[in-house]
């Protein structure tokens, strides 16, 4: 029952939780792949949120490769535990798609194969999502390749903007403009709200709130990821913005306990002006017939930020068909696979292809396609307990600060708890 529960709860949240890393994995320059074409069979694990495209993708691969792959779908809620246990007992799959934020953890625990040589030999290695590449490396060794991507941006309701006397083609680009727009939309009537966010969802806010911090020039972890920086002034500014919107009455009370399930329904009801989300929400929004626009999440005085989410794909330690596993992992980053993924809900991980295979699908897609290249991801082996845990320090800080009001105390507590998690490994 627990799994089922988690599964349902994860539907929206899991999509929003995808995370990645940025930076670069450097390496040698040996030629990858084919002395002889690999053969045999391989097993691949993926999460239920990828069910829609994964089996089709594998069919595409099987059609013109000697290696034959088979997918097993694992519930997202228990994926980390399952892969962890299987890998440590040697009964894991040959290949697995892994939520980017968990890559450092799995790499640090020895569950992933070193694929540095193959990764460095890819002709397009520098065009791969920088954040994915950063998270795929652990202590200068590459353990994964980018697979699918996701970016975060702000959705806004053009009709409400017009009604409130705002220019629907000029969405807010600073904190002050967001607050002002939210206030004006709120003034449309007691049912209307300017802004909403998932106030009880850690994963949602690492995806949707940290971009404010990054765009303001700050961060939530130090460069070496050994120090939490939840008490930095850029975090204060972003919390202050949300706090101000809350005291203005621009945020609905539903945001207080929203674990990620209400944001989209609230926005598609047509009564909420702005909300930060990922590309995954585009189809839902289009179906709901809301006249919406997508704009980058701004920093305090402008600039733009995005979370780089998605999956990386790895060869799992103990595989019996390493050549076949590597072949699939490599193919997954090639144009054939990426084009297929682009048409099935994923932002491509190839910055060199994004224009051609993704942005062409519409203006909203183009925004996300561009943001994928600048996206960041917190890199930490304890990313899950700090950020994604819905009872962890990150979301508690945001909730306490925005709805409680004592921002300084909330930040101090969050900083202390997060640092304790980092220090405790």
């Amino acid at each position: 029952m627990r799994n089922r529960v988690l599964g349902v709860a994860a539907v929206v949240a899991s999509l929003a939780m995808l995370a990645t890393a940025c930076g670069g994995s450097e390496g040698g320059d040996a030629g990858a792949s084919s002395d002889a074409e690999p053969t045999g069979t391989i097993s691949i694990w993926a999460r239920d949120s990828q069910q829609g495209f994964m089996s089709e993708l594998v069919k595409l691969y099987n059609a013109n490769h000697k290696v034959q792959a088979k997918v097993t779908i694992i519930p997202a809620s228990s994926f980390v535990q399952k892969l962890g246990t299987a890998a440590s007992s040697g009964s894991g799959p040959d290949v697995s798609s892994i939520d980017l934020v968990y890559a450092p953890y799995f790499a640090s625990a020895g569950a992933l194969e070193d694929i540095t040589e193959m990764a460095d030999a890819l002709p397009y290695k520098d065009a791969l999502s920088p954040s994915h590449r950063r998270l795929s490396a652990y202590e200068d060794v590459t353990y994964a390749l980018p697979f699918t991507a996701e970016a975060s941006a702000m959705y806004y309701n053009k009709d409400l903007f017009k009604k409130a006397g705002l220019d629907p083609e000029k969405p807010p680009t600073t904190f002050a403009e967001i607050r002002d727009a939210a206030k004006k939309i709120r003034a449309l009537g007691s049912d209307y709200y300017g802004f909403t966010f998932a106030g009880a969802c850690g994963g949602c806010n690492v995806f949707e709130f940290t971009p404010h911090v990054w765009a303001s020039g700050g961060d939530v972890l130090s460069e070496d990821s050994k120090t939490a920086t939840l008490d930095s002034p850029q975090v204060t500014d972003a919390l202050q913005l949300y706090r101000d919107m809350w005291t203005d009455g621009s945020i609905p009370s539903a945001a207080k306990n929203d674990a990620g399930t209400q944001q989209i329904p609230l926005f598609t009801s047509g009564k909420v002006g702005m909300t930060p989300l990922g590309a995954f929400a585009i189809p839902t929004m289009e179906k709901a017939k809301v006249n919406f626009g997508v704009t980058p999440i701004p920093g305090k005085d402008g600039s733009e930020g995005s979370f780089a989410g998605g999956d990386v794909i790895s060869v799992i330690t103990g595989t019996k068909n390493e050549a076949g596993a590597k072949d699939f992992v490599k193919w997954a980053t090639e144009e054939e696979a990426q084009s297929f993924l682009a048409k099935n809900g994923s932002v491509p991980v190839r910055t060199d292809l994004v224009e051609k295979i993704y942005n062409t699908q519409g203006e909203h897609y183009a925004v996300f396609g561009r943001l994928m290249g600048i996206g960041k991801t917190p890199y930490s082996v304890v990313e899950n307990p700090i950020f994604n845990d819905n009872n962890g320090p990150w979301i508690k800080m945001i909730n306490d600060a925005v709805f409680g009001g004592d921002i300084a105390a909330a930040q101090a507590n969050g900083q202390k708890a997060a640092q304790a998690l980092i220090d405790g490994g």
Binding site: N257, N390, N391, N399
Partner: protein, 279 residues
């Protein structure tokens, strides 16, 4: 003859129990090497403020919900015990929610009570009990009340059924005799029905208290441990240590700890209800 039962108990209770205990003596991360650390995990558990808070909240929840369930269950059982057709219909109605899973029930009530969109919220707002801009799940006590309402709706039918079977095993003659001796309704309930119901009461209470001490799903879904982590139960805390922080050893130690508490509480209840026999 008993061997199938022993095999079942061995496979699904004893072996996992021993393994849990064994794991609890280790620093056992989900991935990577584990190492033996003796009783360190238990020592840590005793000084873990987060688990302490969770335990206290679990006890509070148990103390509040047990009498509610018991009184309502007994009340319903008294109402539907009569042997008329309508009684059977109401029995089924009261029992129906029991057939719904905890998770489904939790999601249902989460939706019902949700600000802005929930029908129950709307009713309460029209009745002037809650404010248009308020959020039931954003206050610890209101959130707890919602959970209690859901759990009551969900399990009171089962308690009713158990108590009903207890009531029906009381011979009519005994009650009749008391009536003839001039006992009033209340007197015969207090001095005849309740004492004769004792074995059933013990069963119902032990079940109910154990279930409440092990509460997880309802809070995980309905409150997510919020607001501000104030509604995290003991099992929720074990779940977080094991599967969010990936500390299986520590999670196992907390489980053993909780099991000991549960055993003590259950034994105490059994003892209490048995002892009254001698008075």
């Amino acid at each position: 003859m008993a061997s199938p039962a022993i095999i079942l108990i061995g496979t699904f209770f004893l072996v996992p129990l021993i393994m849990t205990f064994w794991i609890s003596l280790h620093n056992w991360p989900l991935l990577g090497k584990h190492r033996f650390i003796g009783l360190d995990n238990y020592q840590r558990a005793l000084n873990d403020p987060a688990f302490g808070t969770a335990l206290k909240f679990t006890l509070l929840y148990t103390l509040v919900i047990t009498p509610i369930l018991f009184v309502l269950g007994l009340g319903l059982a008294m109402l539907v015990r009569r042997k008329v057709r309508a009684a059977g219909v109401f029995q089924s109605i009261f029992f129906m929610p029991v057939c719904i899973g905890f998770a489904a029930g939790s999601f249902l009530w989460l939706y019902l009570g949700q600000s802005q969109i929930g029908p129950l919220f709307d009713l309460l707002r029209r009745a002037g009990i809650v404010d248009r801009d308020s959020n039931i799940f954003a206050g610890m006590w209101t959130a707890l009340l919602m959970v209690i309402a859901m759990v009551t709706w969900k399990v009171v039918g089962l308690q009713m059924l158990l108590l009903l079977s207890g009531l029906q095993s009381i011979p009519d003659e005994v009650v009749e005799a008391a009536r003839i001796d001039g006992a009033g309704r209340w007197q015969s309930f207090l001095h005849i029905t309740l004492p004769l119901l004792r074995p059933t009461l013990a069963l119902v209470l032990v079940f109910s208290v154990a279930g409440s001490l092990l509460a997880f799903d309802q809070f995980f879904i309905m409150t997510g441990g919020g607001p501000s982590n104030q509604t995290i139960t003991a099992v929720y805390s074990i779940y977080r240590n094991s599967f969010i922080s990936f500390k299986l050893g520590y999670g196992a130690a907390l489980s053993v700890f909780l099991m000991a508490i549960l055993a003590v509480v259950s034994a105490f209840q059994m003892l209490l209800l048995r002892n009254t026999d001698h008075h």
